[in-house]
Amino acid sequence: MEKYIKFTKTYEYIITDGNAGIVGISREACDKLGDIYLIELPELGKEVKKNDEVGVIESVKSAFDIFTPVSGKIIEINRLLGEKPELVSEDPMGKGWIFKIDMIDKTELNDLMDYEEFKKFINEAG
């Protein structure tokens, strides 16, 4: 599973599936956030560039900007999170996915980290 997943320096993950990628925030980001109560979902259909800010997650003690790991078009958003934002922390890599993006340049994935690199990055930053 890991080799299809990449992570960003801003704690998002992207799971790739052909030209589409499923984006959410990592378990490590959830731990930092604590109790999540609100998610500002990205705009459906919006064309975004890598590292654009596309949404916000708000928790009791924090607010976390969501940046898109790749450029492309946002083709689906997880509307369930509107009612149940806690899904993100319950199952960040599964039911807590945030948006799906149609990638325009898959080589951008090469700039991202795999899980081992991501863990190392967190330890050094920490």
Binding site: E58, S59, K61, S62, A63, D65
Partner: protein, 447 residues
């Protein structure tokens, strides 16, 4: 009195515990050439001497109560009940910190919640924050908030809004590329036709600001404005109010305000040479996540007891940093307490009654001026407790004669409104007795 608590023995003992030779060692990090500078200050004053010195300094002031004072213009002389001062003197209120730790701050949190509730009741809006610095800076912050919500960078600001408020707005907006255009007044009220024309031209993507009653004391044509603004749903209407006037008049929610700000000094806060006063800020619930300042919410604890807590903190600077709704951290909590106690003491009827005294006496005064030859009311629009008095005499000479009679006749308007260089702004509150008004008109008649 120097408030230090350690004897030299204490200090020696502590240094020994830490294992260092002298306190200077703790300051080794400071570059030697700039450490321990000569700072010229006098010997410390003991408490008794301090009090005596300050009495002498205070003696150089002349208190309002030694005159018949008719000065207003954004700061008003209202009666403050003894209970307000007594509660403000409770040390657990004034020596406590911001209530970040809810479990030991329920006192502060609850009065802040009650203050927010009172502001909502007075303005008719859905949510209020827990106070800001003053009416002027609250207005400036309202513009910044409105600008962020719908990208509005154009402001129509009535020239009948308090001149100091307009200056503060320009200062705050200079950091943000917001364009402020002033709209003139006619007969003491904002010229609504000018606003209508501007709105047509700008197609509605504008922030409009009206003060009601305005700086001249006049009631604005707010319902007419409301009708015009209905055609432009993207516009933002910010209303500035003197909350004492709500004792008698409708709330800005009735005439379509999106944000209501103003000066709460009138509720239980001393004149105190201009500060600290009390900015309030209220708006619709749709804008909860954009409102600046601290907000208190009601919740429960783990036992299910009702408790209060600072909430929606992630709008604020300590969490959101440069994306915060505002940079405000310290607010005017204690002044909000004064307002909360004041309103609780005077009650619903008290607010109406005091407001009525102000209105009635101001109009009694205006009637006495009407038959005078050399003085008149500049405008004939309806007004609350302030009006503009004009004269064909040299207004400076007029003012001087009043001072000789121990009357502070009002505020000279010519500095801020050159077209009103023959005018003064006269303010009346319940602190102006009928006798003082009669004395004023006697002096007018003496010209």
């Amino acid at each position: 009195m120097s408030y230090f608590v350690h004897s030299d023995e204490n200090r020696k003992e502590m240094l020994k515990t830490i294992g260092i030779g002298s306190i200077e060692e703790l300051f080794d990090c400071i570059p030697e050439n700039i450490c321990n500078p000569e700072i010229e200050l006098d010997k410390p004053l003991d408490e008794k001497s301090l009090k005596e010195e300050l009495c002498v300094i205070g003696g150089k002031n002349k208190m309002i109560k030694n005159f018949f004072s008719f000065i207003g213009g954004g700061a008003y002389n209202h009666y403050i009940p003894g209970a307000v001062k007594s509660i403000l003197g409770i040390s657990q209120f004034y020596t406590s910190y911001t209530p970040y730790q809810a479990e030991i701050s329920q006192g502060t949190l609850q009065y802040m919640f009650e203050f927010q509730s009172l502001i909502c009741r007075i303005t008719g809006m859905d949510i209020s924050n827990a106070s800001m610095y003053d009416g002027a800076s609250s207005l400036a912050e309202a513009i910044l908030m409105a600008g962020k919500i719908n990208g509005n960078k154009k402001v129509l600001l009535s020239a009948a809004v308090n001149p100091q408020y307009r200056e503060v707005c320009r200062t705050y907006c200079s950091g943000q590329n917001i364009d402020i255009k002033e709209v003139g007044y006619k007969n003491g009220k904002t010229d609504i036709n000018l606003i209508r024309d501007e709105m047509d031209e700008m197609a509605g993507s504008v922030i409009i600001i009206i003060q009601n009653p305005n700086f001249f004391g006049c009631f604005e044509d707010v319902y007419e404005l409301h009708d015009i603004l209905k055609k432009y749903p993207e516009c933002f209407f910010i209303a500035v109010i003197n909350p004492m006037s709500i004792g008698l008049i409708k709330r800005p929610s009735d005439y379509g305000a999106d944000i209501v700000v103003g000066e709460g000094q009138v509720f239980g806060n001393a004149l105190s040479f201009g500060g600290p006063y009390l900015g309030f800020f209220a708006t619709k619930k749709d804008y909860l996540r954009q409102i600046p300042g601290r907000i208190v919410g009601q919740t429960v604890d783990t036992d299910g007891n009702k408790t209060f807590v600072l909430t929606f903190q992630n709008r604020e600077q300590h969490i959101r940093k440069y994306k915060a709704t505002s940079n405000i951290c310290t607010n005017h909590s204690l002044n909000a307490l004064a307002a909360t106690v004041y309103l609780s003491i005077i009650g619903e009827n008290g607010l109406r009654h005091i407001s009525n005294i102000c209105l009635q006496r101001a109009h009694y005064f205006a009637e006495k001026i009407k038959p005078l030859d050399k003085f008149q009311l500049k405008f004939n629009s309806g007004f609350f407790n302030e009006f503009v008095l004009s004269s064909r005499l040299n207004i400076r000479d007029v003012i001087d004669r009043f001072y000789k009679n121990k009357i502070l006749p009002g505020i000279y308007l010519g500095d801020n409104y050159p077209e009103l260089r023959d005018c003064i702004l006269v303010s009346i509150t319940e602190m102006n007795s009928i006798e003082s008004i009669n004395k004023y008109t006697e002096v007018l008649k003496s010209f």
